[in-house]
């Protein structure tokens, strides 16, 4: 008989909505061992091929079982530079856990019985971090004459920098914001990814000799040509998908309608939830609507709810989504957490028009009801509007979380960079090299809204290709 999955400890709901502290507390050693013993150690471990960077999941779980956490850590680190981060933010229920043989056949996402691979990864990552398990550095003198500029300090940039620096390549990271970490800093709230976890990974890179240059917007402060003129052998572009999507409906520029990027940036990067100690303000709604069904929609909802709680307001935050819960792209865990905390959901609802008062402040959102029709390109059933279903929702603050696209500042400044119809960078999928020789790219800048682990996979491929080209030049 298969044992019950080991539940992970979480901060109690009443406490956690009043602050921004981490919600999931992680497994203890005993819990990790208990969970690891549930793993069937399959002959054909399908979980591994479902991982975008093919972590040897079977092996690291085996080591946990043997209480050899160090070996478990090094096993993961062979493929994944940031287990403490990925263990917290990977959408495991769509990847490794979905492939797990304990997931029911034809399930859309992992069944509850599937091994909690993400919690085990996090346990191992945190063990390595807390016990200073440094992966051996194989710096080679021959690479020290090469210098790489990494543009953007998000997941792709950090990963690429680490890969290169460990080989002995000199790396400088350029970041346009005043703090490093990219979306891990400005996008993901600290109750999901605490800053000390991120800072640990950045400090590790600093110890490896990587230099960070914040407040430097490549494309404006210097062009790619000017970077090459400064002696860089190659450049890696990890700019991310920084441009927020809007609904393009009437009234969208009313006051108190935020893009999810603005809302989360004010909260996470600028600490607006600590206003006035921190000077950046954010408005707090009484009737908050979040439009969208992804992870950033869940983050925005949980942030809005916390702002209400901290400011003594009744909790009233609702996510509206045009499909149903099943089609929501968010991690199941985030949806669960949002529900537990008191976020309400309105499914099969499409925004039609925002209505404001004479001061230009948002007051209502006119919506339409929809039903699910035939599947679209994404494979999800397309929402079809029901005629005459118009209704109004009271709403004094709205956050729009409907997808992101690639930042165009550098692309506009660099006409030689070839882009596709979505304005993402075109790269050679093996080497990740762009249309400019010596310029590589990875992460969301080369397509869609990938995950952090996919971004890291691309960054690794780019780093490998750069190393290969350096070997040829030695």
């Amino acid at each position: 008989m298969i044992q019950e999955p080991v539940k992970v400890k979480e901060a109690p709901v009443e406490l956690r909505t009043g602050n921004f502290e981490e919600v999931i507390r992680g497994y203890t050693q005993e819990e990790a061992i208990a969970e690891s013993t549930r793993c069937l150690q399959c002959k054909n471990p399908v979980c591994i091929s479902a991982c975008p960077v093919n972590i040897d999941i079977k092996k690291f779980i085996y080591y946990i079982r043997q209480k050899d956490y160090a070996q478990a850590y090094f096993t993961i680190r062979q493929k994944n530079n940031f287990p403490s981060i990925c263990g917290r933010v990977c959408p495991a229920e769509y990847q490794c856990r979905k492939a797990c043989v304990l997931t029911k056949k034809d399930a859309v996402f992992a069944s509850p019985e599937a091994i909690n691979i993400h919690f085990l990864e996090r346990f191992v990552g945190d063990y390595g971090k807390n016990n200073h398990l440094d992966v051996p550095v194989e710096k080679e003198e021959k690479f020290s004459r090469f210098k790489v500029a990494v543009v953007g300090s998000g997941p792709a940039g950090l990963c690429c920098a680490g890969e290169l620096a460990r080989k002995g390549v000199r790396v400088d990271i350029f970041e346009s914001l005043h703090k490093t970490g990219g979306v891990l800093r400005y996008g993901i709230p600290p109750f999901r990814l605490p800053w000390d976890v991120l800072d640990f990974e950045i400090d590790y890179l600093k110890r490896l000799g990587v230099n960070f240059f914040p407040n430097f917007l490549v494309g404006k402060t210097a062009t790619l040509t000017q970077l090459f003129d400064r002696g860089y052998s190659s450049i890696f572009l990890g700019l991310g998908a920084g441009v927020p999507g809007f609904l393009k409906i009437k009234g969208e520029n009313l006051c108190n309608i935020y893009s999810v990027n603005e809302f989360l940036t004010r909260i996470n990067l600028m600490s607006a939830y600590k206003f006035p100690e921190f000077h950046t303000p954010v408005n707090i709604g009484r009737n908050v609507l979040i439009v969208g069904g992804g992870n950033s929609a869940m983050d925005a909802a949980r942030v809005a709810l916390r702002l209400q709680k901290i400011n003594g307001l009744p909790l009233n935050t609702t996510v509206i989504y045009r499909r149903t819960e099943t089609e929501m792209p968010a991690r199941r865990l985030e949806i669960e957490h949002a529900k537990e905390e008191g976020v309400k959901f309105g499914f099969l609802v499409q925004p039609k028009e925002f209505i404001g008062d004479d001061q230009g402040a948002l007051g209502k959102l006119v919506c339409l009801r929809s039903e699910l029709g035939a599947p679209d390109n994404s494979g999800r059933r397309r929402p079809v509007i029901i005629p005459g279903s118009e209704f109004e929702l009271d709403c004094d603050l709205c956050v729009i979380a409907v997808g992101l696209s690639a930042n165009q500042v550098l692309i506009n400044a660099t006409p030689q960079l070839k882009i596709n119809q979505d304005r993402d960078l075109i790269v050679n999928p093996q080497t990740m090299e762009t249309s400019i020789p010596g310029v590589y790219a990875g992460g969301d800048i080369v397509g869609g809204e990938g995950t952090i682990i996919e971004a890291m996979g691309m960054a690794k491929a780019a780093a490998r290709a750069m190393i290969d080209s350096f070997i040829k030049q030695v």
Partner: protein, 274 residues
């Protein structure tokens, strides 16, 4: 990011206009007229956009001018020569389109005068004939008169109270000039009501008018959309699509309302005297 020089351009009962020179060699090298930087005075501060008024490649410095209008500019003023800003990034936004248009009127109101100075220089250098209208509440608050006089072929000063130059608004003078002669371009920077009025007046005389918008910003690199404005019905981000826009297409009422969205917090934090 170190402050090299600091001077008070105007000080009327605590309402000060301040000029600072900041060591920023990379920005100085790249900055063009019409571009701006984002500044954070300290670690807990807001990110605010300020126009690059001047640059000196030899000293590696840029010059910024601001009015102590709100909390963040007051915090900025606490920094002394030798102190460093917490953050400074730029140059941001598109440069103003500089070419030989012919005859140009520059309109600067209040601290907006600082923003027309670099554009005036560049347009003069491109061979344009420059007529400048400067406006301020009173004589004491008028800034950069000498600098602009040296660049301009003609200059007119307007004050609200008539304490200097002529009594009245810059846009009254603008209308007067447009009624007498034909101009090829107007470039106007100042408070929103002034730019809005300039847009109306120039439309009447069918003269193209550019304005530099002062929308609220956070990252100022196109990432957040806080600075979105409607121009000819399209949503534009002031930070990456601007800051210059054709005045006749700007939805001024929307911009004015959006810029007041944090006025309650602003009052509150100013009162706290942190």
């Amino acid at each position: 990011m170190k402050i090299l020089k600091k001077s008070i351009l105007a000080d009327v009962s605590g309402l000060r206009i301040v000029r600072i020179d900041i060591f920023a060699p990379e920005i100085a090298l790249k900055a063009q007229a019409g571009q701006f930087v984002v500044v954070m005075a300290d670690e807990k501060g807001e990110r605010i956009p300020l126009t690059i008024v001047d640059k000196d490649i030899n000293t590696g410095s840029i010059q910024l001018i601001y009015q102590e209008a709100g909390f963040t500019t007051q915090i900025l003023s606490r920094l002394k020569v030798g102190d460093s800003l917490y953050a400074l990034v730029g140059p941001l936004g598109h440069p103003t389109e500089i070419k030989n248009y012919g005859k140009i009127i520059l309109v600067g109101g209040g601290v907006g005068i600082a923003e027309i100075l670099p554009v005036a220089r560049a347009l003069k250098q491109a061979g344009n004939q420059i007529t400048t209208i400067l406006g301020s509440r009173n004589k004491e608050l008028l800034i950069l008169e000498e600098e602009l006089k040296n660049i301009s072929d003609r200059i007119y000063i307007m004050t609200d109270d008539g304490s200097y130059g002529q009594k009245g608004f810059t846009t009254e003078m603008l209308k007067d000039l447009l009624s007498k002669d034909k101009y090829d371009l107007i470039y106007a920077v100042g408070p929103i009501p002034m730019m809005k009025m300039a847009a109306m007046v120039s439309k009447e005389y069918n003269t193209r008018t550019l304005v530099s918008l002062n929308a609220l910003m956070v990252d100022a690199t196109g990432m957040c959309g806080c600075c979105r404005v409607s121009v000819f019905g399209d949503v534009k981000f002031s930070c990456v699509d601007g800051p210059d826009f054709d005045a006749s297409g700007v939805d001024w009422d929307e911009l004015e309302k959006r810029n007041k969205v944090y006025s309650v917090q602003e009052k509150h934090i100013c009162k706290l005297k942190l």
